[in-house]
Each structure stands twice: as structure tokens, then as C-alpha cells.
């Protein structure tokens, strides 16, 4: 009964979306206020109905209602409650329902908080948002219905893929989707602006918070996925340039570019048509990401649900929306004239360089991801494009970005002098140089990655600090705290990028690996640590059987940690997983993995010492935090209830 209720709510939401995509648009072109405003209750109703539908599916999972085909295929009574809930989106149908839920959430948020938008723009934004929704409701209802029943319900379910039974991965998709789908707002604003034929500073100010929020969620979602890969896959890799990872990375790069170009539109009324194009492309790449994942066109470890019919449907949606928006863009873009006048060496110029680097980097990832498909279609060649290619082709852009970032961030608007802007950065330059020297000294005979990466990372971090200090001028600390939050957010996010650079380069260059057979009771030494395999036991978990090793780590005779790496077998899916045990530290992680029992006694054991591993994720958290701080700046608060009139609303930077 609950399932039918949810099914019905979903169909109603589809109907509301159809209304919302047509009526407000007509209202906006005819100037009928009532028709325009009807978009707002429609958006809220659509969200409530989808929410109801999602809640019904969740109930089915929580109560293990195996008369639903989806629940039978992806759940099991013995599964812990958290994974019963995360099982709702741990499959194709449920994850698409989550997709539209978030889409309608953003629509409803724009309807509720968008009180300061001009009515016609608001109506058009909501109509475009609803049209995306309608396409995906149709996709769910006609190709991926989660509410299908089984004629004879089985006794128990087939369980969720054990790799997905993990806290990191349980919450990875919702964040990623908040990011992907959040970019739909930028897209809707862009299309609405194209229909209206006007883009101005106000438009950019409305778009920025949505893009910032989407980018922040995407940052967090990607970080969560990479952290999961780090501890779950058993050898501590954190990024694989897998097609599905690339699918989330391309929108991230473009969203980052969009954030920066929208600043130029807001402050200087320039780069308008480029910003619109970026907004369309950022969401276009989100949909390409959905297409890649859902169609399985590029098979990868993530495509746990792939089906050609669905792929064609999504490809259709992608073509209609991206193609339609680009056509509209081609017609309207010439009307968007740039206004600001500025010299090449200026903040504007620096932000354009940022956009060139980020957009070309995204393009490199795109062509690398699609190349196997292209080669197979055009020449029938089966080839692979993997990490070695991406590392070589992508890294130069990041190096250029890192070099230019602190300087670009401090350049004045309109016209700047490189020499003058470098002055406040002298300290940062000196500190970054010392970091390079230090890294060089301790890593004699090793690769240049450590020196260059850590130097660039330090340059960005110290550059961000130097910029904050520079902004305070002569008035000292009290001024520092009164800086606009946007400045703090910017410095935090930039510093986060630097921290991530340091983490990636030092981990890559300094990692130590040891693979061996260890007898129980044996002690071995890896990079100054003495590791003892104390015991190996069989342990029964809630829905798995585990081989748990107990290992003691000591350094110079002092105990550092006792770790319990596991190897689990999930009997329902007959699938083993490795659960590495990690001793997290500020400067290094100790990462232990237990393998198979050996024929002549002992166990295969892998030990890694991973320097600065946590810096990678600490940096991404800082980036997301920077986004939150910027969002809280009063200039961008979407729903400032009572707006005070302040004489110096916009600091002249």
C-alpha cells in the first residue's frame, strides 16, 4: 500500500512539473502576474510530492518489504539499519528518485527564498527547472520505476553490494547529487536570462550563491568518494581517473570556473556571455556524468546499474537540454555586450586566466574520458586511457594555476602592476621557497614531485594568508576580523587547495610500501616502524564473516597503535571485501591490510606508510568550508529577511 502511495505521489509530481514548465512561462511572456506566481506553489508542491514518494520508498526499505522488486534486489533483513536506508539510493532506480528529489528541492528553495527576484525572471527560472524535472520524472516512471511489485514476494532479499555497505559510500551519492543537481539552478538562471535577453550584475549575484552551494557539495561529495576509495579498496589509492570519477570532476572544474567568472560579471559587467556558456556547460557535464554512470557506456567499477535503453533516454534528455540551451545561446549571446574597461594585468585578467586553465583542464579530462569510445566508434580500436595519461596531461594546468593563483587573487581590479602586487607576497614567496628547500633536503634522491608540489601548495597557502594580512592594511588585527566573510571564504578555499596539493604530492612521492608473508607473532620493520602480527581470528559480524588480524605498531620500542585490519566475506552476495586498518596522523597514516592465509603458514600482509595523506581531505574540507563562509556573507544571503541599508554595502576591494 505504501508503495502504491509513493508511486502515485511520483506521478502527481510529474503532472505538477508539467504544469510548472508551461504555465509560468506563458505568464512571463504575456505579463500575467497570476500565471507567473503560480510557479511558486507548484515548485513547493512538486517537492513535497517527490519527498513523499521518496519517504514511501524509504519505508519499504526500512521495513524490508520484499514484495517490491527493488527492495528484494538491494536489501536484506540482516543488514544494519543505516545501510537499509542508504540502500534506497544504492541502486539505479532509487538514486534517480534521489536525483529528482534534490532537483525539486532546489526548485522549491528558489521559489521560497527567491522573493527578491524580479517576478518574470523567477517564473522563467522555475519553469526551466521544472522542465528538467519533468524529463527526469518521465525517465523514472517509464524506464526505471522503483515501485514495481513482485507477484510472489521472496522470503529474503539479495542484499546490497557489500562495497556500498560503508559509511563513506552511504553518504557519497547524496552529496554528489546535491552538487550535480545544484548546478541545474545555474543552468535554469542562464536559460531564463537568455529568454529575457539580459544579464547584469544583479543576475550574477543571484546565480553565485547557488553555484557556490553546488560547488561546495560537489567538493565534499568527491572528497568523500575519494576517502572511501582510500580506506576501502585496500591499497590506499585515492584517485583513479576512472570515467565515473571524471564525470564528477568535470562539473567540479567548470563550477569552479563559473564561480570565478560570475564574480567578473557581478563586479565589472564583463564576461557575460562566457559565464552563461559556462553555466550551461557545467550542468551539461553533470548530465553527461549521469549518462556515463547510468548507461554504462564507459564501463567502470562504479556502473552497478547499466542498461542501454536507459542510456538512450538520458542521452535524449542531455541532447534536448544542452542542445536547446546552446541554440538559444547562439541566438542571444551577441546581445550581451561587455561593459568594463580593464588592462590585461588586472583582477579581471587574472580571473580570465583562471577560467582558461580550469576550462581547458576540464576539456582534457573530457577528451581523455571519451577517447576510448571515439577510437572504438571511428576506427574500431579498443584502447584505454588511464592514470598515466591524465597525470601527464592534466597536471601542467594545475601547476600553472597554482603559480598564478596568489598573485591573481591580490591584483587590483581594472589595472594592476605585477611588481606592486608581488610586494605583499614577498613573505609568502620566501616561506614557499623555504618549504621547497626543506622538502628537498629531507628527500634527497627522490622525485621532483615532492619539491614542486609542496612548494606550490605552500605558495598558495601562504599567499592566502598574505592576502588577508594585506587587506587589513595598517589597522591590524581588529580589521582582520571585520573583513567581509567573502574575503575569509576566498582565503580559506584557496588555502584548502594548497593543502590538498601538498598532501597529494608528498603522499605520491614519499609513500612506503611493504608486501610480505608474516607468521603470527612475527615482527617486521617498515620505515622506522616495528609491526607485529599478534593474532588472526575469525569473527562473526551482523551480515558478514570476518578474518580479523590484530597488529601492533611500535616505534623505537614505544607502542604507537594496535590495529585490526579485516577481510570480510558477505555470504549473501558471496563477496569478499578488505577493510584496511589505518592509524591516522597529522604527518603520516599507517595503513595495514591483511590478505590470504599462505599454504605453508603465515599470512600475506601489506603495510603502507602514507605521509601527509590526511592533508588531501583536510584541504578539500577547507575548500568546502571556504564555500560555506562565502555563502554566509551578507551580500549573498539568498533570503535576507529584513535588509538593512548600510552605507558601505560593497567594499571597494
Amino acid at each position: 500500500m505504501t508503495a502504491e502511495f509513493g508511486h502515485f505521489a511520483l506521478i502527481l509530481a510529474f503532472a505538477v512539473a508539467l504544469y510548472q514548465m508551461v504555465v509560468p512561462l506563458i505568464g512571463a511572456s504575456k505579463g500575467w502576474g497570476g500565471w507567473m506566481d503560480s510557479a511558486r506553489p507548484a515548485a513547493v508542491a512538486q517537492f513535497l510530492l517527490t519527498g513523499l514518494s521518496f519517504a514511501c520508498l524509504t519505508v519499504a526499505f526500512v521495513t524490508s518489504d520484499f514484495s517490491l522488486k527493488l527492495v528484494y534486489e538491494n536489501s536484506h533483513t540482516a543488514k544494519p539499519m543505516i545501510y537499509k536506508i542508504s540502500g534506497v539510493w544504492g541502486n539505479h532506480e532509487g538514486s534517480m528518485l534521489l536525483w529528482v528529489l534534490i532537483l525539486s528541492l532546489f526548485g522549491a528553495a528558489a521559489a521560497v527564498f527567491g522573493t527578491n527576484l524580479p517576478p518574470a525572471l523567477r517564473a522563467r527560472v522555475l519553469a526551466v527547472q521544472a522542465s528538467i524535472g519533468a524529463a527526469f520524472y518521465a525517465f523514472i516512471i517509464f524506464t526505471s520505476n522503483p515501485f514495481l511489485r513482485l507477484a510472489s514476494p521472496p522470503f529474503d532479499g539479495r542484499d546490497l553490494n557489500p562495497l556500498l555497505q560503508d559509511p563513506g559510500l552511504a553518504f557519497h551519492p547524496p552529496f554528489l547529487y546535491l552538487g550535480y543537481v545544484g548546478l541545474s539552478m545555474a543552468f535554469s538562471f542562464a536559460v531564463a536570462a537568455l529568454i529575457e535577453g539580459r544579464v547584469d550584475a544583479a543576475w550574477a549575484r543571484w546565480v553565485r550563491p547557488w553555484t557556490l552551494a553546488a560547488w561546495m557539495f560537489l567538493t565534499f561529495g568527491i572528497a568523500l568518494g575519494s576517502w572511501w576509495a582510500y580506506y576501502e579498496l585496500g591499497w590506499g589509492g585515492f584517485w583513479f581517473w576512472d570515467p565515473v570519477e571524471n564525470a564528477s570532476f568535470m562539473p567540479w572544474l567548470l563550477a569552479a570556473a563559473l564561480l570565478h567568472s560570475a564574480i567578473v560579471v557581478e563586479k565589472r559587467e564583463t564576461l557575460k556571455s562566457w559565464t552563461i556558456l559556462l553555466a550551461i556547460m557545467a550542468f551539461g557535464f553533470s548530465m553527461i556524468g549521469t549518462f556515463i554512470v547510468r548507461s554504462g557506456v564507459l564501463t567502470s567499477v562504479h556502473s552497478f546499474a547499466s542498461d542501454p535503453a536507459r542510456g538512450v533516454f538520458i542521452l535524449g534528455i542531455l541532447t534536448v537540454f544542452t542542445g536547446g540551451a546552446l541554440t538559444l545561446y547562439a541566438v542571444r549571446a551577441p546581445q550581451m555586450t561587455a561593459k568594463g574597461v580593464f588592462a590585461p594585468v588586472s583582477r579581471e585578467g587574472a580571473l580570465i586566466l583562471n577560467n582558461v586553465l580550469l576550462a581547458v583542464a576540464a576539456f582534457v579530462v573530457f577528451i581523455g574520458t571519451m577517447w576510448p569510445l571515439v577510437a572504438e566508434m571511428l576506427w574500431g580500436r579498443k584502447l584505454s586511457v588511464g592514470p598515466p595519461f591524465f597525470n601527464k596531461a592534466f597536471t601542467p594546468f594545475m601547476i600553472a594555476l597554482a603559480l598564478a593563483l596568489p598573485l591573481g587573487a591580490i591584483l587590483p581590479w581594472k589595472r594592476g602592476l605585477l611588481g606592486r602586487s608581488l610586494q605583499p607576497l614577498r613573505g609568502a614567496l620566501l616561506l614557499a621557497g623555504s618549504v621547497m628547500a626543506l622538502v628537498f633536503a629531507v628527500s634527497t634522491g627522490r622525485s621532483a614531485i615532492a619539491v614542486i608540489g609542496a612548494g606550490l601548495g605552500a605558495w598558495i597557502v601562504f599567499g592566502a594568508v598574505a592576502e588577508l594580512i594585506h587587506r587589513t592594511g595598517q589597522s591590524g588585527w581588529s580589521r582582520l576580523l571585520r573583513l567581509p566573510r567573502a574575503d575569509w571564504g576566498k582565503a580559506t578555499a584557496h588555502a584548502g587547495l594548497g593543502v590538498t596539493f601538498i598532501g597529494i604530492s608528498l603522499l605520491t612521492a614519499w609513500q612506503v610500501e611493504d608486501i610480505r608473508v608474516a607468521q603470527v607473532g612475527q615482527t617486521f620493520r617498515v620505515a622506522d616502524y616495528d609491526i607485529t602480527l599478534a593474532s588472526v581470528d575469525e569473527v562473526q559480524g551482523p551480515n558478514y564473516i570476518s578474518t580479523t588480524a590484530t597488529m601492533q605498531v611500535a616505534r623505537d620500542g614505544r607502542p604507537v597503535a594496535t590495529l585490526q585490519p579485516e577481510k570480510r566475506v558477505y555470504p549473501v552476495q558471496a563477496m569478499p571485501t578488505t577493510e584496511a586498518a589505518i592509524d591516522n596522523g597529522f604527518f603520516r597514516d599507517i595503513y595495514l591490510v591483511i590478505g590470504d592465509a599462505q599454504k605453508d603458514g603465515g599470512w600475506a600482509v601489506r603495510t603502507y606508510v602514507k605521509p601527509f595523506a590526511n592533508w588531501i581531505w583536510a584541504g578539500t574540507i577547507l575548500m568546502a568550508l571556504g564555500g560555506i563562509i562565502s555563502l554566509s556573507d551578507r551580500r549573498y544571503r539568498v533570503a535576507a529577511g529584513v535588509r538593512r541599508v548600510s552605507p558601505a554595502a560593497v567594499p571597494a576591494e
Binding site: N116, P118, L163, A201, A202, R205, L233, G234, W235, P243, T270, T299, S300, V301, S303, A338, G340, V341, F342, A343, P344, E348, I352, N355, V356, L357, V360, F363, V364, I367, W371, A375, W379, L383, S384, V385, G386, P387, P388, F389, K392, A393, F397, I515, R516, V517, K567, A574, P576, T577, T578, V593, G595, D596, Q598, A604, R606, A640, V645, A649
Partner: protein, 151 residues
Amino acid sequence: MRQVLLLLAFLLPFAALAVQPDEMLPDPAAEARARAISQLLRCPVCQGETIDESNAPISRDLRLYVRERIVAGDSDDQVIDAVVDRFGEFVLFQPTAQGTNLVLWMAGPVMAVLALLLAWRFLRIRAAARPETTVALDQEESDRLEQIMRD
């Protein structure tokens, strides 16, 4: 049973450890070379894994083969070529920079140069542009401006 195990191994890319202790060469330098080569080669039956990470039986065979060739005195390129001869260029995670693949390798640099040229042209135009003569705002626009200033 063997077939079931094989099937399982194909389906379960991360199931167990990849490089096993019994595969490793006693000479650390040769072993390091083997690892580096393994990280360039794709497991022919898995989804996007190198033979270094994969636990599929064929990856184990390939890892052993790579080590055999190294012990026999092959250079890194010879080892890679030997594997490519058997399994085709699909196993190369880094596509060759020859023929049509040059498009792939050159796409980034060419695009970067084009984008920089375009950006430079745009910057020149903006630097040479004259500030627009101010036009008085109409009623609707001044309302909007007021609203914006209140935000």
C-alpha cells in the same frame, strides 16, 4: 569449482590483495621496475584496473610474465611491447602518442594555446574600449537598482 572461482574473481575487482608476496622478485631494483611497468598495464578483463591492483587470475599471470621478462633481461619497453603483442593496445593505460592518438595528446596543449590567444584578444579589446556613455535609468531599472542596493 574452478570456473566459479574464476567468475567470482572477474566480478570482484577488489576482493583480495593484488601483488602477492610469492610473486615478488628478490632483487628490489628489478621488483621496483616490475611494479612500475605493472602500473602502466590494464587488466584485460577487469573494469579500469591496472594489473598491479587487480586480483583477477589473468592479472596475476601477467604480473608473473612481466617479472619473467625482466629476469630474462628485457628492457621496460620490450616487456610492455611483449604484453601488447598478446593482448592488443587495450592493455596500455597510457595510449601511444602515435597516429590518431596524437589528437588525444595534442588536444590539451592546442586547446590551451587557442584559449589563451582568444583570451588575449578579448583582453586587448577590453583595454582599448572606451567607457560607455552613461544612459539614464528608466523607472523599472531604477526600481531594480534600489532593490539590489537594499540586499
